[in-house]
C-alpha cells in the first residue's frame, strides 16, 4: 500500500518496485543471462546481536541509569533484539504531537519542488531583466556617442578659433596703438583702454550705418518689384 502511494511519478517505478519485491537472487540472474559472472560475495562482519541473553533494563527500578529509560534507547533495544525486548513496536514511530511538529518543520524548511522552481524562475527573471536593462542603457548611450563626440570636437574647435581670434584682435589693437601713439603702449595702461573704447565707438557707428543702409535697400527692393509688376 505504501508502494502504490509512492508510484505517482512514472509507471516504470511502479513496475520496478513490484519487480524487486519478487526478484530472485543474484546467481539465478547470472544463469539466466547466459555467461558466468563471478561475483565476490560480500562478507559482512558477523552481527553480534546477543539474542541468547538480551539485556533489557528494568524500567521501574531506580538502579538503572536514566539514559536507559529513554525512548531512543528503547528503539535501539528493539533494533537489536526485535520482539524479544518487550517494547511496543507502535512506539517506534513518532506520536501525533511529534508528527505535527515534524510536519511544521518540514513545511518551513523544506518547501516542495514547485515552490522552489518558482523561486528559481523568479530569481532568473529578475537577473535577466537587470541584465537587459543594463544592456539597453549601454546601447542607448553608445548610440548617442557619435553625436556627443562630434559636439565635443566642435566645441573644442570653436574655443580654439575664438582664442585665435582674440589673440589676433589684441595684436591688431596693439599695432593700432603703436601707430597712434608712436611707441609701444602697455595694454593695461588707461591710454590704451581709451583708445580701445574709441575704436569700439567708431565700429558701432559703422554698424548702425550699415544696418540703416540695409533696411533702406530692403524697403526699396520690395517696393520697386511690385511697382514694376503692377
Amino acid at each position: 500500500m505504501a508502494a502504490s502511494m509512492l508510484c505517482r511519478r512514472t509507471a516504470m517505478l511502479c513496475r520496478a518496485l513490484k519487480g524487486l519485491s519478487c526478484s530472485k537472487t543474484v546467481l539465478s540472474a547470472n544463469s539466466q543471462s547466459g555467461f558466468l559472472l563471478q561475483t565476490a560475495s560480500y562478507n559482512p562482519k558477523p552481527l553480534k546481536l546477543n539474542l541468547r541473553e538480551p539485556y533489557v533494563p528494568d524500567k521501574d527500578s531506580e538502579k538503572t541509569p536514566e539514559w536507559q529509560k529513554t525512548a531512543r534507547y528503547d528503539r535501539k533495544l528493539f533494533g537489536r533484539y526485535g520482539s524479544a525486548s518487550d517494547i511496543d513496536p507502535a512506539s517506534l514511530w513518532p506520536s501525533h504531537e511529534q508528527l505535527d511538529k515534524i510536519i511544521a518543520e518540514e513545511q518551513e524548511w523544506h518547501p516542495p519542488l514547485e515552490v522552489m522552481l518558482k523561486n528559481i524562475e523568479a530569481k532568473e527573471k529578475q537577473e535577466t531583466e537587470k541584465r537587459l536593462a543594463k544592456e539597453k542603457l549601454l546601447a542607448a548611450n553608445m548610440a548617442k556617442m557619435p553625436k556627443m563626440i562630434a559636439d565635443w570636437r566642435r566645441e573644442k574647435r570653436e574655443t580654439k578659433h575664438k582664442l585665435k581670434e582674440e589673440k589676433a584682435r589684441r595684436a591688431k589693437l596693439l599695432v593700432e596703438a603703436r601707430e597712434r601713439f608712436g611707441y609701444a603702449v602697455d595694454p593695461r595702461s588707461p591710454k590704451f583702454l581709451e583708445m580701445v573704447a574709441e575704436i569700439e565707438k567708431e565700429e558701432k557707428k559703422k554698424k548702425k550705418l550699415m544696418k540703416r543702409r540695409l533696411k533702406e535697400e530692403q524697403v526699396v527692393a520690395p517696393v520697386t518689384p511690385p511697382a514694376a509688376s503692377s
Partner: protein, 292 residues
C-alpha cells in the same frame, strides 16, 4: 641413458613450490643497503658555528629577517572562503568501476547504488565531512565496457556518454546528509530501530542541476532524458543502443522514487534485523506523511 636435464633444475622446482613472493619474503642482499646513522658527536654537536643556529634562538617559521614575509605580503582573497560549507563529492573513475566489476566486487546485473559501491569498498564516503556522495569521472572512459544501471550524485558528460555507449543507464540523485549516512551504512541504521526516513529534496541551488536532463537528474522529465541521450550520442559519435530490446531491460529500468532511499524499502518502514521482518505502520496520518 641420462634423461635430458630440465632447464632450470632445482631453481625451477623451488620457484614452483615455494609460496608467492610478497614483501614479507624479500630481503636485500647483505651489503647492498647502507644504513644511515643519526648524527653522534662532533665538536659542536652538529649545531654549526655560533649565532642563533648553535644557540637555538632561531626566529619563528616564516620570518624573513624583518622583510615582510611571503605569507603577509600576499593580499587576502576569498579563494577558500566558506570551503567547509561546500558540498564535496568523492570521485569514482570509470577505470576503478571497471576494475571493481572485473574483480566481481560490484555486480553489474543488479542496479549499482552507493550502498553497493561502499559494500565493495570501492569508495569511502564521509558524510560528516560535507561529502554529499560520489561523482563519476571520465578517466578510463575508453576502456569502460560494461552495461550497468548506476546511480551517482554527479557525473561528468564524458562518463555519461561512456556508460550510455555501452548500453547502460545512469541517473544522478540527491541524498541529504542523514539519508546519505543511512545509505552507506544500512545495517547500523536498521539496528537503531528507527523508521526509514524519506529523502529530502535538494536545496534551491542544486534543484537546477537535478532537474536538468543533460545531467540525467532524477527530477528531470523522462522524455527530455531520452532526447538528451540521443543528442549526446550524436555529439560523441556513437550509436545509442536500444535498451528496450535488452534482456536486462527490467533491471536497467529500475529507478528509485524521489523519496526512497533503498530499492524495495519505502519510507516509514521499520526493519527488524534479528527477526528478519519489516514492520509497517497502519496509522493514516503517519502514512500520509511518509508518502507525501
Amino acid at each position: 641413458m641420462s634423461f635430458p636435464k630440465k632447464p632450470g633444475g632445482k631453481a625451477l622446482d623451488v620457484l614452483q613450490n615455494l609460496p608467492r613472493i610478497t614483501l614479507a619474503n624479500l630481503r636485500p642482499e647483505p651489503g647492498a643497503r647502507k644504513t644511515l646513522h643519526k648524527q653522534h658527536g662532533g665538536n659542536r654537536s652538529g649545531r654549526g658555528h655560533k649565532g642563533e643556529r648553535q644557540r637555538g634562538n632561531r626566529p619563528r617559521l616564516g620570518f624573513e629577517g624583518g622583510q615582510t614575509p611571503f605569507y603577509l605580503a600576499i593580499p587576502k582573497y576569498g579563494y577558500n572562503e566558506g570551503h567547509s560549507r561546500r558540498p564535496q563529492y568523492q570521485p569514482l573513475s570509470l577505470k576503478r568501476l571497471q576494475y571493481l566489476i572485473d574483480l566481481g566486487r560490484v555486480d553489474p546485473t543488479q542496479p549499482i547504488d552507493l550502498t553497493q559501491l561502499v559494500n565493495a569498498r570501492g569508495v569511502t564516503i564521509q558524510p560528516l565531512k560535507r561529502d554529499y556522495g560520489v561523482q563519476l569521472v571520465d578517466e578510463g572512459a575508453d576502456i569502460f565496457a560494461s552495461k550497468i544501471n548506476i546511480e551517482v550524485q554527479r557525473a561528468s558528460e564524458g562518463a555519461v556518454a561512456a556508460i550510455e555507449r555501452n548500453g547502460g543507464v545512469i541517473t544522478t540523485g540527491f541524498y541529504d546528509p542523514i539519508s546519505l549516512g543511512i545509505l552507506i551504512k544500512p545495517v547500523p541504521f536498521f539496528l537503531r530501530g528507527q523508521p526509514i526516513p524519506k529523502r529530502m529534496l535538494p536545496g534551491e541551488d542544486m534543484v537546477p542541476y537535478y532537474t536538468d536532463a543533460e545531467n540525467r537528474g532524477y527530477l528531470a522529465d523522462p522524455e527530455k532524458i531520452q532526447q538528451a541521450r540521443l543528442a549526446l550520442a550524436k555529439k560523441y559519435g556513437y550509436i545509442l543502443p536500444d535498451i528496450s530490446k535488452d534482456e536486462l531491460y527490467h533491471m536497467l529500468a529500475m529507478r528509485k522514487d524521489v523519496r526512497q532511499i533503498f530499492f524495495g524499502l519505502a519510507p516509514g518502514w521499520v526493519v527488524s534485523m534479528p527477526e528478519k521482518k519489516i514492520l509497517k505502520t497502519t496509522d493514516e496520518k503517519l502514512l500520509k506523511y511518509y508518502s507525501s
